[in-house]
Amino acid sequence: MTTTLPTTPAASVRRHGHSTVPRSAAMLIMGVSTVYFLLPLWWLFVGATKSREQFTDTQPLWFADLHLFDNVRELVTYRDGVFLRWILNSVAYTGGAALLGTLLAAMCGYALAKYRFPGREVIFNVVLSGVLVPATALALPLFLIFSKMHATNTFWAVFLPSLVNPFGVYLARVYATAGVPDGLLEAARIDGSGEIRTFFTISAKLMSPALVTIFLFHFVAVWNNFLLPLIMLSDERLFPVTLGLYSWNTQVNQVPELRGLVIVGSLISIAPLAVAFLLLQRFWRTGISTGAVK
């Protein structure tokens, strides 16, 4: 592609020696980007530690008197601890749906990759076009169906639809095709292991980087889902934390003390996802390229 001219080692050394300018420029861009991405979170953190008066009167980017614990106490006791309930709801909706959903997607994707059976391609293509159907387009018809069964405004109305993750099936199939050798499955069969047992003891382990990726994608999607709970739920005791914070935020103009609660609540609502990301970061990086490169 490029014409090959013999270069001396000296030339290449010189080039490296002169790279201080691009190096500083690169670090400058990195630094500015870091400020852009982290400053809002810093502001939120600082704001959450302030009392109501100091929130408006003091320098927004630096601490005043430490009020964080009082703020948290006010938050979790406000209206009989409804905020804690929202957090628990979110964990139940999200953790439950992501765990179960990942398992279901993994089994389906694995079967599509490792077995030949009639209808295999049809199933895969239908599921794949499911990826292109925006989840929000389903929220309204789901609401209509659940209301026919008098099941709106229940835990299940949000939980059950959240289990389905077609992109997870796609990722699981791609990864099982590449990561689970047929020979190994054959060997397991000769050893007398049943198909189901082989999946849980051998294949699932081999697929674990992909499973973590699927789990995290799914976790984020459900944690961030807004339209479905917004349409389905009217009882605030069933709200996930995002919907709860949203409802408080709409009342800030009438009930000014809610503003402080919204700030502290926002900070706390970010924590579970941040922790999950940090813990699973290593897996998540190796797995994410599976979906992108193919």
């Binding site: 001219l5 870091t34 400053l39 030949r116 389905v164 339209l227 919204v262």
Partner: protein, 307 residues
């Protein structure tokens, strides 16, 4: 691409194999059925149901008479296509996407290339720092930025006192900034993972030949990560047309955001009235528009020789 590599077989044994009944039927059913049933119930049935609902109209005998649903053919779709605010909101989202998606993905690509260039020390830290906003739910990100844009609270006073970031002219781009802030790191990570998967031999030779880093990035790295860029673009197109949480939150901060500001907000406000049949028709049209756009994008990039 995803075809299973079958061991080489004589043709006649392959043919016999096809006629043989499927093995492990029970295991396959056990693997596929749980997802399959839920997918049918919560994906396929709602789609069909939305289409059916959109073909009905509510009729009343007199003003206060009992309502009943009768088949109305494409009556709801006539309403959808003559609904100015809805198409206004679709146009608004197309303008939004035409600016925000390239800016966001350009930033993501630039940061990924810089991280991969060998010019940056502390890569682990930067990767995490850029990715953290993705852990912030859209609602929370919008609440946070909403406060940051508000003139009386913001640490950005020099900016907010000269430009009203929440006025009718600017609020769309203020929302675009929120979406960009959340998703740059996520897209960067996808592109960066693809960059890491390129074997270094691919550009070591070019480097020895004296090609600059910029040239290597442009001629070697970017073409090789094109599949990742296409994937992130498709997801971004889908995401843009579905925008709901951020603008819905911004209604508390700016009176310029109406209840029909984005297509999904129209669907939601129609269902709150309630006019379910019309809302269903909106949903169907929106899903189709999204599907056609992302599909068209995939096809054009494929035709141009990109995978």
């Amino acid at each position: 691409m995803t075809q299973v590599a079958t061991p080489p077989q004589a043709p006649e044994s392959a043919a016999r194999r096809n006629r043989r009944p499927t093995r492990y039927t029970r295991a396959i059913a056990l693997f596929v059925a749980p997802f399959g049933v839920l997918f049918a119930l919560f994906y396929l049935v709602p789609i069909v149901y939305a289409i059916v609902q959109s073909l009905y109209v509510v009729q009343r005998t007199g003003t206060y008479g009992p309502a009943r649903e009768v088949f109305g053919g494409l009556a709801q779709y006539r309403l959808v296509f003559s609904d100015g605010p809805f198409w206004g909101s679709v146009g608004r989202m197309l303008a939004f996407g035409a600016v925000q998606v390239p800016v966001m993905l350009g930033l993501a690509l630039a940061l990924a290339l810089l991280l991969d260039s060998g010019l940056v020390t502390g890569r682990r830290f930067f990767r995490l720092a850029f990715f953290v906003p993705y852990a912030v739910p859209g609602v929370v990100a919008a609440i946070m930025w909403g406060f940051l844009y508000s003139p009386n609270l913001s640490p950005l006073k020099p900016i907010t006192s000269t430009v009203d970031l929440l006025s009718a002219d600017t609020v769309l781009w203020s929302i675009a900034n929120v979406v960009t802030w959340v998703y740059v790191g996520y897209n960067m990570l996808i592109i960066y993972s693809a960059l890491m998967a390129i074997p270094t031999e691919m550009y070591e030779a070019a480097h020895l030949d004296g090609a600059s880093r910029l040239r290597i990035a442009w001629s070697i790295k970017i073409p090789l990560v094109m599949p990742a860029i296409v994937l992130t673009t498709v997801f971004s197109i889908i995401g843009t047309l579905q925008l709901l949480a951020e603008p819905q939150v911004f209604r508390s901060f700016s009176s310029a955001v109406s209840s029909t500001y984005t297509p999904n907000m129209t669907v939601f406000s129609m269902s709150a009235i309630p006019n379910f049949n019309l809302a269903a028709a909106f949903s169907v049209v929106l899903a189709l528009t999204t599907f056609v756009l992302s599909f068209a994008f995939l096809k054009t990039t494929q035709r141009r020789g990109m995978p």
